[in-house]
């Protein structure tokens, strides 16, 4: 209640300040509205007319209207609310696309791969909302230019700096604050854009020894009207650092305990786009670098343990598009990436030396290459066929793999407003994420395909119906899919991954199949924007050495998933947005008994558990409503802003995420309870533009 009063007072104060500025704000809003309308019209037209399917193409502005936990706007969490994408841990950024795994998503930031897209154990994504221009997510019918992951491609583009004006914007939130500036260095020739974000709880509450930060910087150069060159970089880290004194209860000796962790990504890409006069063709060349590494260090007195892992990529990609033919849209290109993996470097001192031998880690190098060609051929006014072939390969020590990856899409235009489509796509993945957990631990490692760990393959067929209502800016789609997954990698039960430099012994191969139906209605323009999504899905796995070789449901198999996201401009100044989610519970392995037996030496007795088969029981369904109220104001001629007051999980309902055995005083027995991570969480944030 106290919080409500404080927030109301804050809003009232801001509202009073802003009343006089409403008219100008409305005019500005109108200008922006026109741009959004044309973008929305293009999207609607493309949705029906193109051969592409399985693409989530929502404007970033709409994605960022989705109420966010802690007020920290996040495009990945917004995309999780669209059909076909399952959430993992509550509040986390894990994406399980059409029954795939979290490591089967290719995440690109201005063309460079992002290996760990999360901050704070994966509760926030590395994408600073202030820096984002566009995001495309492909779940099926992957364009031939993309490859390397089995289940999805998320292509994120950052804003180019304005070549004309200087602009600044920022936000202050409870979790983090961000600032971004952009403007010309040489007017109409060279511009810059710089965004930075940092948490500051460690500065406010000194007993919290954690922070994360990220910085996006971009230089954009337009040397001629036909050329555009951009250099985009990202750097972000999660930092944990603490030191305390501890007294040994036995000896009374006081020793210093220090622990620290640092993990983060760094990416860079240099992109040259050339479109000659007449624009009959265009070329893109991208040279990119990606790096991810973590360091964990701990010491107690003279005992110390230090671990480090790293992955680095250096690659180049070229794309050529020929648009000079009336019926054909030809595209071709190549990609070449050199990967360097260095998992688990361990250095020890003192007692840990006895348990963990110092290890330089094993270095792995691999080179992944791809060549593709694609033709989007207009057969007649109604039929259009897109046929492509990507040939990918991966060279690692003692092994070479290559895979043809055919892609095909067919569209039948029923009329100007509706179409039917079908597609097939094969994808290959030459690396796997080694993780023993459903949450994103810093020790999760990427591991290459090797002579014994084969690359993963997926085959997906899908069919869909698309319809739009241009007058209302509404797009409707229904897609059905069936996906086969081959050479999937799982971990043996009880796999020991930490401080293990020979993971291959812990990995097993298997297969999967997923199928489902997705319905999506979106409205991307007007006073009301949002979407309605529903998916019916099945995701199963089968491994010879797990679950007695029998098929089982995957961890985030949820039968029904419903989401509604809506943002309504009540007045030019006030916007209310909400997200309503319902999802069938995810399956888990439950304990169905226990027994007492002597230990292997017959020197003691112990209790051992009996479990169901893997993921045989399902948790309860989850239902959640999030709410956000936005108030836009103008303080001066140039300074505009908005205040967001939101609440996550308005009904304060448990979102079942784990099952625990707890003691029930009433019955005098244990019982099982489902627990979630968060209850209702209010938030407050302020954004401003200059």
């Amino acid at each position: 209640m106290k919080v409500t009063i404080i927030l109301s007072l804050l809003l009232l104060t801001t509202a009073t300040t802003a009343t006089a500025q409403d008219t100008t704000a409305a005019v500005k809003t109108g200008q922006i509205h026109e741009v959004v309308v044309s973008g929305a019209a293009r999207r609607l037209k493309e949705q029906v007319a193109s051969t592409q399917m399985g693409r989530t193409d929502l404007p970033v502005q709409l994605l960022l209207k989705v109420p966010a936990i802690g007020g920290e706007r996040d495009i990945i969490k917004a995309l999780q609310l669209t059909p076909g994408i399952k959430r993992g841990t509550e509040g986390g950024i894990g994406m399980y696309v059409r029954g795939g795994g979290n490591d089967e998503n290719l995440i690109l930031l201005d063309g460079a791969t992002v290996y760990n897209a999360g901050h704070l154990l994966g509760f926030f994504s590395v994408f600073n909302a202030a820096s984002l221009k566009d995001v495309q997510l492909y779940k099926a019918a992957f364009p031939a230019q993309y490859g390397g992951r089995l289940s999805s491609v998320m292509d994120v583009r950052t804003k180019d700096g304005s070549l004309q004006d200087y602009k600044a914007d920022g936000s202050i939130g409870l979790i983090a604050s961000s600032m971004s500036v952009q403007g010309p260095i040489l007017r109409n020739k060279l511009s810059f854009a710089l965004s930075a974000r940092r948490t500051y709880i460690d500065q406010v509450l000194h007993y919290v020894p954690y922070n994360f930060y990220d910085v996006n910087a971009k230089l954009t150069c337009a040397p001629t009207p036909h050329d555009r060159i951009s250099l985009s970089t990202y750097k972000g880290d999660d930092v944990l650092k603490m030191a305390t004194l501890t007294r040994d209860t036995g000896t009374g000796i006081v020793r210093q305990f220090r622990t620290g962790m640092k993990l983060g990504n760094a990416t860079a890409s240099l992109i040259w786009k050339h479109t000659p006069e007449g624009a009959r063709y265009s070329t893109d060349i991208c040279v990119h670098y990606s790096g991810f590494r973590y360091q964990i260090a701990g010491s107690l007195g003279s005992n110390a343990l230090y671990m480090r892992s790293a992955i680095r990529d250096l690659g180049v990609r070229g794309d050529y598009k020929y648009l000079g033919h009336e019926r054909h849209k030809l595209a071709a290109g190549f990609s070449l990436i050199h990967h360097y993996f260095n998992p688990n470097i361990v250095q020890t001192q003192g007692r840990p030396e006895q348990e963990f031998a110092p290890s330089g880690g094993r270095n792995y190098y691999s080179t992944e290459a791809g060549l593709y060609v694609n033709d989007d051929y207009k057969l007649n006014d109604r039929w259009q066929l897109a046929g492509g072939l990507r040939i990918s390969g991966d060279a690692v020590a003692q092994a070479f793999y290559w895979n043809p990856e055919p892609r095909m899409g067919l569209r039948y235009l029923v009329n100007e407003r509706s179409s039917v489509k079908a597609s097939y796509a094969r994808m290959a993945q030459y690396m796997h994420l080694v993780s023993s957990s459903s949450i994103a631990l810093p020790t999760d490692l990427w591991y290459p395909a090797t002579a014994t760990i084969r690359p993963g393959l997926s085959d997906q067929v899908s069919a869909g119906y698309y319809y739009n209502i241009p007058a209302l800016h509404i797009g409707i789609s229904a897609e059905a899919y069936y996906k086969w997954l081959h050479n999937l990698v799982e971990y043996r039960e009880g796999a020991q991954l930490i401080l293990n430099d020979d993971y291959e012994k812990e990995l097993v191969h298997g297969r999967g199949r997923t199928y489902g139906l997705e319905l999506f209605v979106s409205k991307t323009s007007g006073r009301f924007t949002g979407w309605l999504g529903y998916s019916l899905s099945f995701a199963q796995r089968q491994f010879d050495s797990l679950n007695n070789g029998e098929r089982y449901f995957s961890r985030y198999d949820r039968r029904h998933d419903f989401s509604f996201v809506g943002a309504f401009d009540v007045t030019p100044a006030w916007t209310v947005s909400t997200a309503v989610l319902y999802a069938t519970g995810s399956p888990f392995t439950g304990q169905t008994g226990q027994y007492l037996v002597p230990n292997p030496g017959f020197t003691n007795v112990e209790v051992l558990p009996v479990y169901t088969s893997r993921n045989a029981i399902r948790m309860s369904a989850s239902f959640r409503i999030d709410l956000d109220v936005q108030y836009k104001f103008r303080l001066t001629e140039k300074l505009r802003g908005d205040v967001h007051v939101g609440i996550y999980n308005l009904l304060n309902r448990t979102q079942p995420g784990r099952v625990e055995r707890t003691w029930d005083e009433g019955s005098g027995t244990y019982k099982y309870q489902q627990k979630g991570l968060f209850g209702a969480i209010p938030s407050l944030s302020v954004h401003f533009d200059l």
Binding site: E493, L596, Y611, S620, T669, K671
Partner: protein, 292 residues
């Protein structure tokens, strides 16, 4: 603290306080009907003990020793069982009840490499379980000595073990018990079950022929022990399938797996039951670590 920091701090604290956690939701996990749980020990080439009990509901509180039907007690043991050990070409031997759920015999003639079949029949409940295993004689252990490394800030207890005549396909179990890890002065079956924890680190080390050089395994094993403990250590040769069982059993005790991993299903060689039937003759030693 500056006023801004104080304000932010107060606001963060208020919001944290307002953020309430909802009540957990009960879930029904159907419990399975009781199945037999069996384990075994060869004390020497003439003596075998078999323990036979039943699985019980995981809702049951094993700490509740005050109840008349203590779940760890008689009611869940096979106390009217027919326990028979047989081998091809030999007359079957019936084991005698020693205590509720424990059966034994001291006049057997176990033969190295011979496969033995166990039959446990509960005459009261009408349930039967069977299992088969091979009997292994003592391994050739040359050295089995503790090493205590005392440092100013810490002490490490290790045991050095050397096993000779190791052949391809050989597996060995090293199991140890310390006085600190076991309740002194109590027999295993009368102990308070509060110390029974399936998730505690397992004092088990597995060795195999891949660790051997020239037919000799020579290893240092770090023990979870104190310099003042009494150490009881056993080393025996085991079969490959039992080694797989022990490998899974050992992983069950790894701390990290309790929080992050999938539950571990223990393999078994008991038909219609749980546990493991294995017969191996161990080399045993007891040490007072304070002398090392």
């Amino acid at each position: 603290m500056t006023p801004i920091k104080t304000g932010l701090s107060a606001l963060a604290a208020l919001i944290c306080m307002a953020g309430c956690r909802p009540k957990p939701i009960d879930i029904t996990v159907a419990q399975q009907s009781p199945d037999m749980a069996i384990s075994s020990m060869a004390y020497d080439a003439h003596t075998v003990f078999i323990s036979a009990g039943y699985t019980i509901s995981s809702f049951t509180n094993l700490l509740d020793t005050a109840r008349r039907n203590n779940p760890a007690g008689k009611g869940n043991m096979v106390d009217s069982g027919l326990v028979i050990l047989s081998a091809p070409g030999r007359p079957a031997d019936t084991l005698q009840p020693v205590s509720p759920g424990l059966y034994g015999r001291r006049d057997l003639e176990l033969q190295d490499g011979t496969e033995y079949t166990l039959l446990v029949q509960d005459r009261k409940r009408g349930k039967t379980a069977t299992a088969a295993t091979r009997f292994y004689q003592m391994p050739v252990v040359d050295t089995l000595v503790p090493v205590v490394l005392k440092k100013p800030s810490d002490t490490v207890v290790k045991v050095h073990i050397t096993i000779r005549q190791v052949q391809a396909g050989n597996y060995f179990l090293v199991h140890y018990t310390t006085s600190a890890g076991r309740r002194p002065g109590m027999s295993p079956y009368s102990m308070d079950p509060s110390v029974l924890q399936s998730y505690s680190p397992k004092n088990v080390e597995l060795l195999d022929d891949r660790m051997a050089a020239g037919g000799v395994i020579s290893r240092d094993i770090i023990l979870n022990a104190r310099a003042t403990d009494t150490l009881y250590i056993q080393c025996s040769r085991i079969g490959e399938h039992y080694a797989r069982y022990l490998e899974a059993y050992k992983r069950m005790g790894d701390l990290i797996n309790q929080f992050t991993g999938e539950p571990i299903h223990l393999p078994t060689n008991i038909s219609a039951g749980f546990g493991y039937f294995s017969l191996s003759l161990p080399v045993r030693h007891t040490y007072l670590l304070k002398h090392y």
